[in-house]
C-alpha cells in the first residue's frame, strides 16, 4: 500500500522543494538590494532563453552528468566516491596524452581513443583507493579526498614541467591539433541548416553523456553486475551468502565510477578548451555529489539534476556578467536547491503524504 501516489513523490515533491529554494533565494536577493524578478529573468533568459544560452547550459550539464553518474555508480555499491574531482582531472590527462601522442587524421578516430584514454586514466585514479578499501579496509572517503590533492599536485607537475610548451606562461598543454577538435552541437545543427547556439561549447560529448546515462541505467538495473553492485551496496553479508565477491565489486564499481568521472574530460578538455589547463575540472567533481544524491541515484534523475545545475551555472554566470549581483549568489542558490530538494525533502513530503492519506480515507 502506498502513502501517496508515485507520481506525486517523483514530481510534486521536488517541484515544491525547488519552489521553496527559489523563494528563499529571492529573499536573499532582496536582502542585498536587488530585484529577484529581474535576476530570475536574467537567469532564465541567459540559460534557457536562447539557443546560445542552451549551448552553455548543455555544456555544463554534460560535465555534471559524468561526475554525477560517477558518484551514483559508487553509491550503489555502498561506496562514497568524493574523488570525482581528481579522477576527472586525470581523465583530462588521459585525453591530452592520447590526442597529442598521435597525428590523428580526423576527430572521429581521435574521439574513441580519447574516450578510452579518459576512462582509463579516471579509472586508474580510482583503482588505488578501491583496492585499499577492498584489501586493507582504508576508508574510501579519506583516500579519495587525498587522491584529489595528489592529482592536483601531479597534474601541476606534469603540466608545468612536461606538457607545457617552452616559453608559455600558461601551465597548460599545447593546443590540440585542429583535426582533433570535436564538432560542436552548433556545427551539427548547421549541417542541417539550422543556426543554433553559435559559438557555444556544447559538443558531441553531450550525446556521449546521454549514452552514458543509458548505459549506466542498463548496467545498474539490467545486468548481473549491476544487480551484484546493488546487492553488495545494500548488504555485505547477504552478498557473501550469494557468492558475490566484495573485493571484486568494490574494485569494479570504483573503476566504473572513476572511468565515468574521467570521461568528463572529453567534454571540457577535448570538446571545449582543446588543451589541458590546470584547473579544468573547476569543482564539477563536487557538484557531481549533489547531482547524484539529488537525482536519487538514478540516471534520469542525475540527468535532470545535472540540467538543473547546468542551468544554475549558466544562468548564474549570466547574472554575474550582466548585473551587479555577485557570482557568489549563485553558490547560495545552488546550496539552497541542494538543501531543499536533497536534504529537506521530507519537510515537503510529510505534509503531502498526510494530505493524500486524508484524501484516500475520505474516498473510502
Amino acid at each position: 500500500m502506498e502513502r501517496m501516489p508515485k507520481w506525486a513523490d517523483v514530481i510534486v515533491t521536488p517541484l515544491i522543494s525547488l519552489a521553496l529554494a527559489f523563494a528563499i533565494s529571492a529573499l536573499v536577493i532582496l536582502a542585498i538590494g536587488e530585484s529577484p524578478v529581474e535576476a530570475l529573468k536574467v537567469m532564465v533568459e541567459g540559460a534557457l532563453g536562447s539557443s546560445y544560452g542552451w549551448g552553455f547550459t548543455l555544456y555544463y550539464t554534460t560535465n555534471f552528468v559524468f561526475t554525477g553518474l560517477a558518484v551514483m555508480v559508487a553509491y550503489h555499491a555502498g561506496l562514497f566516491n568524493i574523488g570525482g574531482e581528481g579522477q576527472a582531472a586525470m581523465g583530462g590527462l588521459g585525453v591530452t596524452l592520447v590526442v597529442l601522442a598521435l597525428p590523428w587524421p580526423h576527430w572521429a578516430l581521435a574521439l574513441p581513443a580519447a574516450v578510452v584514454g579518459a576512462a582509463l586514466f579516471g579509472a586508474l585514479w580510482a583503482l588505488i583507493p578501491a583496492w585499499l578499501q577492498a584489501k586493507r579496509g582504508s576508508h574510501v572517503v579519506i583516500t579519495t579526498i587525498m587522491f584529489n590533492f595528489i592529482a592536483a599536485a601531479l597534474l601541476n607537475y606534469v603540466l608545468v614541467n612536461l606538457l607545457r610548451p617552452v616559453g608559455s606562461m600558461d601551465p597548460a598543454s599545447a593546443n590540440f591539433p585542429p583535426a582533433t577538435h570535436l564538432p560542436k552541437l552548433s556545427d551539427m545543427a548547421l549541417a542541417f541548416g539550422i543556426d543554433w547556439g553559435r559559438n557555444t561549447p556544447a559538443n558531441i560529448a553531450f550525446f556521449i553523456a546521454i549514452i552514458a546515462c543509458l548505459l549506466v541505467w542498463l548496467l545498474i538495473w539490467r545486468t548481473r553486475l549491476g544487480y551484484e553492485i546493488r546487492a553488495f551496496g545494500k548488504s555485505e553479508p547477504a552478498a557473501l551468502y550469494a557468492g558475490i565477491s566484495p573485493v571484486r565489486i568494490t574494485v569494479v564499481a570504483m573503476l566504473i565510477s572513476g572511468a565515468l568521472a574521467g570521461l568528463m574530460a572529453v567534454n571540457n578538455v577535448m570538446g571545449e578548451a582543446e588543451r589541458l589547463v590546470l584547473n579544468a575540472v573547476e569543482g564539477a567533481g563536487f557538484i557531481g555529489i549533489a547531482v547524484a544524491l539529488m537525482g536519487r541515484n538514478h540516471p534520469l534523475g542525475v540527468f535532470l539534476a545535472a540540467l538543473l545545475f547546468g542551468f544554475l551555472y549558466q544562468g548564474g554566470g549570466e547574472l554575474a556578467l550582466w548585473t551587479s549581483i555577485p557570482r557568489e549568489l549563485i553558490v547560495i542558490i545552488q546550496a539552497l536547491v541542494i538543501l531543499f530538494t536533497g536534504a529537506l525533502d521530507n519537510m515537503v513530503r510529510m505534509p503531502l503524504e498526510r494530505l493524500f492519506l486524508t484524501l484516500n480515507r475520505k474516498r473510502g
Binding site: 542585498i32 583516500t143 555577485p326 545552488q334 546550496a335 541542494i338
Partner: protein, 321 residues
C-alpha cells in the same frame, strides 16, 4: 636536523593542527551521536567570517569568537533540522552547508566591507594574542626542558590551549558522564536510547550543537588566532582533512589528537623542507606539498585497520515510517 629545528617544526605543527583538532572533535561529537557531518568545512568557514567581521567591528576578539560560534551553530542547527527533524540525507545536507557557507561569507563580506569577500585586517585586541606562560622566559636557559617549555608549549593563542584541553574533556564527557553514555548509545542504536525513555532527537541536537560550537572555535582560530582576518575560502579544505583525521582516529578523542597532530606535523615538515634533496634526486615542491596526503594514504593502508563508524551513523532514526 638540530634540536631547535625540531622544536620549530613541532611548534608549527601545533598551530597547524589546532583547527584540524577542533573540527575533528566537532565531527566526533556529531558522528558519535549518529549524525554524519561533511559540512565541517562550511561551518568553519562561516565561523571564520563571522568572527573576523565582528572582531573588526567591535575590536574584540572575544566578541568575534562569540559571533563565530553563533555562525557555526546556526549552520549546525540547519544540519540538525535537515537530518534529525526531517530525517533527510545527512550527506546532502552537509554538501549544501558547504556551498551555503562558501557563498554567504563572500556575499555578506562583499556587501559589508566591499573588499571582495575579505574582511579588513585585524589588529590589537581584535586578534587573539600569543600567551606567554608563566616562567617561560626564566626557564628558557634550562637545557632541553627550557626550550621545549618556552618555545613549544608557551607562546600560543588561548584557542590552542583550549583545543588541547578539549581532548581530555571530550574523553571524560564521552566515557565518564551520563550525557556521554547516552550520546554514544544514540550513535550505535538509537532505539536503545528511545526505549530507555530518553529523547533521541534532543540528544542528537545536543551533539550537533556541540559540533557547531567546536567548529565555531576552529573558524575563529583561523581568522582571529593564527591569522588576522577573513579571506574567502580560507579554510582551504581543512574541514575535509579533519574528517579524514576523524575516520583515521576511529572516532576516538585521544586518537583524534594523534591523527590531527600527524597531519599538522606533515604539513609543517613540508613547509620547512619545500624541496627535499635526497642526494640523487630533488623532490619537487609540488610533491612535497602533496606529501601529507600521500603519507596519509600510505599510513592508512599500512597501519590502520578497518575503521568502523558508529553503527547508526548516517541513518535518520525512523521508528514509524
Amino acid at each position: 636536523m638540530d634540536f631547535a629545528t625540531i622544536l620549530q617544526i613541532l611548534d608549527s605543527a601545533m598551530r597547524l593542527m589546532t583547527p584540524l583538532l577542533l573540527a575533528c572533535l566537532a565531527g566526533l561529537y556529531s558522528e558519535r551521536a549518529g549524525v554524519f557531518d561533511i559540512g565541517l568545512e562550511g561551518k568553519m568557514l562561516m565561523a571564520a567570517f563571522a568572527s573576523a567581521s565582528v572582531a573588526y567591528a567591535t575590536g574584540s576578539a572575544w566578541a568575534g569568537l562569540l559571533a563565530g560560534i553563533t555562525g557555526a551553530v546556526a549552520l549546525a542547527l540547519l544540519h540538525g533540522l535537515a537530518s534529525i527533524t526531517f530525517r533527510g540525507n545527512q550527506l546532502i545536507s552537509g554538501v549544501a552547508i558547504n556551498f551555503l557557507a562558501s557563498g554567504l561569507t563572500v556575499l555578506l563580506g562583499q556587501k559589508i566591507f566591499e573588499l571582495g569577500g575579505r574582511t579588513p585586517s585585524l589588529s590589537g585586541a581584535a586578534r587573539f594574542d600569543a600567551i606567554t606562560l608563566p616562567f617561560a622566559d626564566s626557564l628558557r636557559p634550562v637545557p632541553v626542558i627550557g626550550p621545549i617549555y618556552a618555545e613549544l608549549i608557551s607562546g600560543h593563542t588561548i584557542l590552542v590551549y583550549v583545543a588541547f584541553a578539549i581532548v581530555p574533556l571530550t574523553w571524560w564527557v564521552l566515557y565518564r558522564t551520563r550525557f556521554g553514555l547516552r550520546l554514544r548509545a544514540v550513535g550505535e542504536n538509537p532505539a536503545s536510547v528511545d526505549t530507555a525513555g530518553v529523547s533521541v532527537t534532543r540528544l542528537r541536537y545536543a551533539a550537533v550543537l556541540i559540533c557547531g560550537l567546536l567548529c565555531g572555535l576552529a573558524g575563529a582560530y583561523l581568522a582571529t588566532g593564527i591569522s588576522a582576518g577573513f579571506v574567502k575560502e580560507m579554510t582551504a579544505g581543512r574541514g575535509f582533512i579533519a574528517l579524514a583525521a576523524l575516520i583515521f582516529a576511529k572516532w576516538r578523542p585521544w586518537s583524534a589528537l594523534g591523527a590531527t597532530f600527524l597531519f599538522g606535523l606533515l604539513e609543517a615538515v613540508a613547509n620547512r623542507f619545500p624541496n627535499l634533496d635526497l642526494g640523487f634526486v630533488t623532490v619537487p615542491s609540488m610533491f612535497m606539498n602533496a606529501l601529507p596526503y600521500i603519507l596519509t594514504v600510505i599510513i592508512l593502508a599500512g597501519f590502520v585497520g578497518r575503521a568502523i563508524p558508529p553503527r547508526a551513523g548516517g541513518e535518520p532514526y525512523v521508528k514509524e515510517r
